[in-house]
Symmetry: C2
Subunit: 472 residues, 2 copies
C-alpha cells in the first residue's frame, strides 16, 4: 500500500471530519460489501485460518408472528439475489479493513477475489408464510454463508415487513379502491423509501408517490399537491386553477388547507370553467379532520354540483385499521394514500427473524439458547390445501422428506448465479394476489386469529430428539 | 433524445423486468435527485411556469412529542447539507422524467442546470429540542425550497428519531457502561443501518458493529461472534479457543449457545490456558434468557475462577427500559449491545414532523387544516436557563424579535454553500453530552414528565391573530 494512501486513511480514522467533498466519490450505502456486522468478517477470517470451509446450510425465518399479524408476505428475494451475485470487495474497502489492524493479511488477500458461490432455495416473492417457516435457505462454504448474514436479513426483513402490512391494507380496503404509497418522507432512509414502494406494490398497492421507485422498478407514480403550494398563492382557487392548467392530465386538488367545504364548492365552479377548456378535474384530496364525515360532506357538495365523476382521495395517518373504519362507515373514499404507517409499519416496526446455521459439514446443528431454540437440518415447507383451495396445513419437514403438498422452497440460485431470469414485478404482484386468496377467511381479517396452520413433521421432531440426546 | 434511448426507456417502463445487470450501473438510492415525491416536481414545474420564484421560508419541526419522549435530540443536519450542496439532476434522470410525459420541456431544461441556492438556519446537531420548535429553516426561491422537502424530512426525521432513542439509553445506563449499536440487520434498509450508527454515536453510544458506519463516519467498530460460529464447531470450547488465537486483540466470547454456566466455567479454564500464550479474554456475551439472573450467575463463576477482569456484555431485545431494569436489579453488566429497538426505535418508530411554508414573497403564511395548524412567519427559539444551568424555558418567537436567552437556530448555509466546515462527529457528540446535562431531572427520566418548557412569544400569537382576522 502506498504510504500516502496510508496517511490518508489514518487521517480519515482519527479526524472524524465529515464533509461533502469526502462523500461525493463514495458509492451508496447499499453498494458496499462493508455493509455488514464486524463479526461476520472476523468469523470469516477465523474460518479461513481454521480450514473450516465445508458446506454450511443457513435458513432465514421468522421465529413467531407478531400479535397483530395472522400471516406474513415474503418479499426482498430479488434484492438478495442481486446482492449475492454482485458481492465484491473493492480495493479501497480492503485497504480500509487493513487499516483497522483487525484482520490477517491472508484474509484480506482472499477478499480480493471473493465471490459468493453458493446455492439458494427460496419461497417465491409474494408468497404467504407463517412462523418458523424457512423463507430462504443458503447452502455454501461456511465463510460465504456466514458473511452474507447481516445484509441478507436486512433486505428480507424490511420488504417482508412492509409487504405484510400492505397486504392487510389491501384486504381491509374496498376491492376497487386505489391504494397509494405516500411513505417516503418518514421512512427510515433512502433505501427504505424505495423498497417500501416495491414491497407494497407487490402486496396490492396500485401506485407510489416516490419518483425513484417509479424509475427503478416501473411502479406507477402519482402525486397531488402540498399545502405549501396552496399557501404560496394568495387565493386557494387560483392555486387550483393554475395547477390544473399546468398539469391538465393529472388534477387532484388538495382541499383542506383552510375550509374544506368552501374549497369543495370552489372545485364545483372550477370544474365547469375548466371543462370549457377541455380540462377535467380527476379528484380532490382530504388530509385532515374526521375523514369519514369530511368525505361525506364533500361528496354531497360535489354530487349536488354535478361532479359525480370527481373522486375523493383520503390521506393522513392512514393504515389498515383506519381504512377498515372508513369502509365500515361507508365513507365515500375512492383512493387511500397510506404513508408513514405503511413504510414504517408503525404497529409492528420489526419482525423476530433470524438466519441460523442448520447444518455444517453434513451434520445437523441446533442452537438451544433459552427461548431462542432453533430447528436442525435443511428444511422444506409442504403446503396442503383444503377442498376450497385454501391453506389447510403447512408441514415443516426435513428437506430430504417427500411429503404431500406443494413444496414452497424452490431452487433459485446455483453456484452463485440465478437459475433463470427473475419474474417481473407484475408477475410477483399477481402471485401475491393469488396467495392472499388462499388464506382462510379468519386469517385475512385484521383481528388476531388464534389458529396457526403450521405443523412440524415427525422426522423433524425425531431429529431434534436425537441431537439433544447426543448433546447430553 | 436518441430514438434508441427512447426505446430502451419505454422497454424499461413497460417490461417491469428487474435484473442484476440492469441495476449494476445505477447510483445508490441515496444518490439520486429522483428520491423525492412526485408532487415536489409537478409543483415546481407549476411554480416556474407561473413565475412564482420569489423567496419562501420553510421550517422543519416536530408537531408534538410522542407520549414516550420528554425531549428529542436533533440529528441529520450534516446529511441535509450534503444533500443540498450536491443536488443535481443527471441527464439519464431528466430523460426518464421526460419519458413519463408529465413535465413541460422548459421545466426539464431548467432541471439540467438546477442548483440549490438558498440559505439554511438550523439547530446544531446534538441539541435537545421540544414540540413545535423549528430545527431547521430554509430560505430560498420557492421552487428550490419546495423540491427539497421530501428528502430533507427523510434525513432529519430518521436520525432525530434514533438519536432521541439512543439518548434515553445513555441516560438509563450506568454512566461507565459501554453502549454498542447492534441494529444493522433489522434496520429498515442500508442507509438506515449506517445512519443509526451515526445518530446513536452522537447521543452517547460508544461504538457500532456496522463496518460501513465505521469506515464512513469514523465510529469505533466492535464485534463478538455469532451462535453459528459456535455451532459450526463440534465443541464449544474449541470455538472459543480458536477465536481467541485468531483475534487475540479482541476476544468477546458468546456463552449462551447451549448451557451458559457450563460455558462460563470453560471460559475460566481457557483464560488460564490463553494467558500462558499472552492472550487475554476481554469479555463474555449473554444473548438470551433472564439477563439479570444469568449475568449474576456468570459473574460469580468468573469471579470465583479469578476472572474479575473479564467483562460481561448483554444483548438481545435491549432498549432503555430493559437497561434501566438491569441497572435497577444491579445486574453486573458492563456493556449493553442495543440492536433492533434502537435502529427501528421500536416503541416510537416515527415522529409527527413536518416541513411547512411559513412565508412567501415577504408575507407570513399559515395552514389552518384541522388538528394540523401551523405557526406563521420565520421563527427563532430562545432558550433560557435556570440558575443551575438547566433548561428553564424555550420561547418560540418571530425571527425578527430579539429576546433573552440563547438563540438556538444559527445560519449554517448561505447561497447553497456551507458557511464553515462542519463540526467533527466527536464535537457533535460532545455537544450532545453537554445538552443532555441541561435537562431538568424529571425530563431525563424515562417516565413521561407532564411539563413542557415551550412558550410562544406574544408577537407570534399576535401574528396568528392578525392572519386569521385577515382570512375571515
Amino acid at each position: 500500500m502506498h504510504s500516502l494512501r496510508k496517511r490518508e486513511l489514518a487521517g480519515h480514522r482519527s479526524g472524524f471530519h465529515e464533509s461533502a467533498s469526502s462523500m461525493k466519490d463514495e458509492v451508496g450505502f447499499d453498494r458496499t460489501a462493508l455493509l455488514t456486522d464486524l463479526y461476520e468478517l472476523t468469523m470469516m477470517d477465523a474460518y479461513y485460518r481454521l480450514g473450516m470451509e465445508r458446506t454450511a446450510v443457513f435458513e432465514f425465518y421468522v421465529r413467531r408472528l407478531p400479535e397483530q399479524r395472522n400471516f406474513l408476505v415474503a418479499a426482498g428475494l430479488e434484492q438478495v439475489l442481486d446482492y449475492l451475485e454482485g458481492l465484491r470487495f473493492r480495493p479501497t474497502e480492503i485497504e480500509w479493513l487493513e487499516s483497522t489492524g483487525k484482520f490477517s493479511a491472508s484474509f484480506l488477500q482472499r477478499l480480493e477475489r471473493f465471490r459468493f458461490t453458493g446455492d439458494v432455495c427460496a419461497m417465491r416473492e409474494g408468497s404467504v408464510f407463517f412462523e418458523n417457516e424457512p423463507l430462504l435457505r443458503v447452502t455454501a462454504p461456511l465463510p460465504e454463508a456466514q458473511l452474507v448474514e447481516s445484509r441478507l436479513i436486512n433486505l428480507l426483513h424490511y420488504q417482508t415487513l412492509v409487504a405484510s402490512k400492505a397486504a392487510r391494507c389491501r384486504l381491509a380496503a374496498p376491492p376497487d379502491a386505489q391504494l397509494v404509497d405516500f411513505g417516503m418522507r418518514r421512512s427510515h432512509g433512502a433505501e427504505a423509501a424505495c423498497l417500501a414502494s416495491r414491497a407494497s406494490y407487490i402486496a396490492g398497492f396500485d401506485a407510489t408517490a416516490t419518483v425513484e421507485a417509479g424509475r427503478r422498478f416501473g411502479i406507477p407514480v402519482v402525486g397531488t399537491m402540498a399545502h405549501s403550494y396552496i399557501q404560496a398563492h394568495d387565493r386557494e382557487v387560483d392555486a387550483f386553477a393554475n395547477f390544473a392548467r399546468c398539469h391538465p392530465g393529472n388534477v387532484t386538488l388538495l382541499i383542506d388547507t383552510y375550509d374544506t367545504a368552501r374549497a369543495a364548492r370552489s372545485v364545483v365552479r372550477l370544474v365547469r370553467e375548466l371543462r370549457a377548456e377541455g380540462i377535467e378535474v380527476q379528484a380532490v384530496r382530504l388530509d385532515s379532520g374526521d375523514l369519514a364525515a369530511e368525505a361525506r360532506r364533500v361528496r354531497a357538495i360535489l354530487d349536488d354540483g354535478g361532479c359525480r365523476h370527481v373522486r375523493i382521495m383520503a390521506s393522513g395517518s392512514l393504515d389498515e385499521y383506519a381504512i377498515a373504519q372508513l369502509k365500515a362507515a361507508e365513507a365515500p373514499v375512492d383512493a387511500f394514500a397510506v404513508g408513514t404507517r405503511l413504510s414504517v409499519s408503525t404497529d409492528v416496526p420489526d419482525l423476530d427473524c433470524a438466519y441460523k446455521l442448520h447444518e455444517y459439514a453434513g451434520q445437523p446443528r441446533r442452537k438451544r439458547s433459552q427461548w431462542k431454540e432453533s430447528w436442525p437440518g435443511a428444511r422444506q415447507v409442504y403446503r396442503q390445501y383444503d377442498p376450497h383451495g385454501r391453506i389447510g396445513m403447512d408441514v415443516i419437514a426435513c428437506a430430504t422428506e417427500a411429503l404431500e403438498g406443494k413444496a414452497m422452497l424452490q431452487e433459485v440460485m446455483v453456484h452463485g448465479r440465478r437459475m433463470a431470469p427473475s419474474p417481473s414485478l407484475e408477475q410477483v404482484r399477481r402471485h401475491c394476489r393469488e396467495e392472499l386468496a388462499t388464506l382462510q377467511p379468519e386469517m385475512s381479517c385484521l383481528a388476531k386469529c388464534g389458529r396457526s396452520p403450521v405443523k412440524i413433521s415427525r422426522s423433524q421432531h425425531a431429529l431434534v430428539a436425537e441431537l439433544d440426546r447426543r448433546a447430553h
